[in-house]
Symmetry: C2
Subunit: 379 residues, 2 copies
């Protein structure tokens, strides 16, 4: 990040965080708004309920929901009851859908905080029907092949006692794609058809139209017929590429930085860090950085990863420590780098997607892992 391009306020806050925490992460609000506009266009006037589970993919559900409410969204999916409560405390009038309401189904809690449950099995549905006939809405989760959570078509068909379903206020039914990021995967169509069949069966039982939802972020890119009534993008707001092996149509949102804590020279045959896993071949100038595996720089990157200073790619030397990492800065002259200089982990020089690949994982896991340990600034 070129600090000079940031406002004085953000600049001062950045320096404070780097000094006090060692790291700073930026969440680019304009990029979220840009991505929101792309999602709106792709979703063709369907209802959009953003997903901000796992504390907004580690980025802070509270910060995210504020921006998303400004973008005009009125209903949100959260991962757990605790996440629902956290948001409800501050936002009284948004609809909050809870993906996992715990076992046993916590009806008192749902009622108290006006949280709308996503119901995953018939037992919970029956329980809900006894407490909430026709009154408060719920969402039914159908399992169309993910084999993770949800009720499947056969279970619906096999129901001996179907009448109680008429007394439930089903807001919509939803399912979850297994392979939505792979646009050519035949499973997507199979799952869509299965959900539509569930909807037909329920329509017969309940004698009313049942709304449907199957698209996560990637689903929205599968084409118009998949959009159904409600779409549920999450990662797309954060700029995570929704399409496998294609150029990311979204703008990067998140970037992560640390600072140089110390610069020193090491000599030929010196070793670096824990376990002495690296022996230096030539006299080398090294910098120790204020970031380690506790801030999201995975230990997997020991001796293999790299970071950026002044747009130059610099190798990680030795094992990554808990909150420190050593890199090779021999390419710089002594007047070019100094203690306190800012170091890019991912950002303008490397996308989150590329950083995730280097970590042998997906962007989601990077965000969830690094999110909670680093102070964040919405810029």
């Amino acid at each position: 990040m070129e600090l000079e391009k940031l406002s004085i306020n953000v600049r001062n806050k950045s320096l404070k965080y780097l000094s006090q925490y060692g790291t700073v992460s930026y969440i680019n609000k304009n990029s979220i708004i840009n991505n929101s506009n792309i999602i709106l266009k792709k979703s063709k006037n369907k209802i959009i309920s953003p997903v901000i589970k796992a504390d907004g993919y580690g980025m802070g559900a509270k910060a995210l929901i504020k921006t998303l409410i400004e973008c005009g969204y009125k209903s949100f999916f959260l991962g757990s009851l605790s996440e629902g409560l956290e948001i409800r405390k501050k936002y009284k009038n948004v609809e909050l859908f809870i993906l996992n309401c715990g076992q046993p189904l916590n009806i008192t809690y749902l009622k108290k905080y006006k949280l709308i449950p996503v119901i995953n099995n018939l037992k919970d549905l029956k329980l809900w029907s006894q407490y909430y006939p026709k009154k408060d809405p719920c969402i039914l989760h159908m399992d169309t092949g993910m084999n993770r959570l949800g009720i499947n078509l056969q279970e619906l068909k096999d129901l001996s006692d179907k009448d109680y379903l008429k007394n439930i206020n089903i807001k919509f039914i939803m399912s979850h794609f297994a392979c939505a990021e792979d646009i050519n995967n035949l499973m997507n169509k199979t799952q869509l058809e299965e959900l539509l069949n569930c909807s037909k069966v329920l329509k017969k039982i309940c004698k009313k139209e049942i709304k449907t939802s199957i698209c996560n972020s990637s689903g929205i890119w599968l084409g118009k017929k998949y959009l159904l009534d409600i779409v549920r993008p999450g990662a797309a707001f954060l700029g995570i590429n929704p399409i496998l092996h294609k150029k990311n149509p979204l703008k990067e949102v998140i970037s992560l930085y640390a600072q140089i804590t110390q610069i020193k020279e090491v000599k030929k045959n010196d070793t670096i860090g824990y376990g002495r896993t690296l022996t230096i071949k030539n006299n080398t100038k090294i910098a120790t950085l204020s970031i380690g595996y506790s801030n999201g720089l995975s230990r997997l990157l020991s001796n293999t990863g790299d970071v950026y200073i002044k747009n130059k790619q610099l190798k990680i030397l030795g094992r990554i420590s808990m909150d420190l990492t050593v890199i090779d800065i021999s390419i710089f002259n002594s007047d070019e780098v100094k203690n306190g200089d800012i170091v890019e982990i991912f950002g303008p020089n490397r996308s989150l997607e590329e950083f995730a690949k280097m970590n042998k994982t997906i962007p989601y896991e990077i965000l969830c892992t690094m999110g909670k340990s680093n102070p964040k600034i919405l810029i």
Copy 2:
């Protein structure tokens, strides 16, 4: 965890957390006290300053320090200024040593919160001497071969202007082992000797005895001569094995649990989860668990890891999702498991060390990664 063995209070809190967060982590206070007693004995009356950096290795520095103060400790090492402030707010009378004080050295902040800096380079030392001649104490970090942070012996010897050192209140000098967990590694002795040489050089300059410290947790197990004046155990309090390839002399402290969210049957040729990475060979009973990579169950364990229910080891099926994981529970009869049943990730059936091995990393990284996402109960 056998919930029945816990107090009613803890039991109710556990059920609440499992229902609302999906997970619960226990920190066993008696085990910490047990480990503290072992550390005290091994440290032979030297001063012990516990390290609780990276938010107490992810376990919550505030909860840890409370127990450690009860054990009688009066000074602590923290990773950053922000951690120092967090603890200082609550504890006014403990000594807090800050390992990374940020760049540039934040003297105002150190002064305001009575934080004692660990000074890593000569430039910062000079700055400190100008602001704090003889007054407030500091700790000098010597680099004896870790090549990460610290001043080295040669730098001390080469100092042209040595007089300012006399005016600094050096509480002690410290260094950090690169290979302390490997009791046979010759580097340990080399580093010890280097630190003692630094101490001699400083003694000459400052014309007074200089206290020394080199032992982290593992160092304490290297033998009496390594103990010096102050030892700095951290992970040992949390039961992390201090000695490579030997039986852990400490008690396990941390355990992690989730709950069963749903049970279902899948058929031959069905696939599980994202990307359909697993095709089921025979009809199988599966359970979906309320934990995923955002709670510390790394995506690396997809299709390879396992968990425990009722002391039975159960395979993870398909890819681990953000907050859900599917396992094979075919070995159980239908009356043996139900929604809401508790699932051990690590605990009585598998140590943190074994779990870390399964994750191809070290216990420290597991704790830092899982720590912040899971509610914790001190039991």
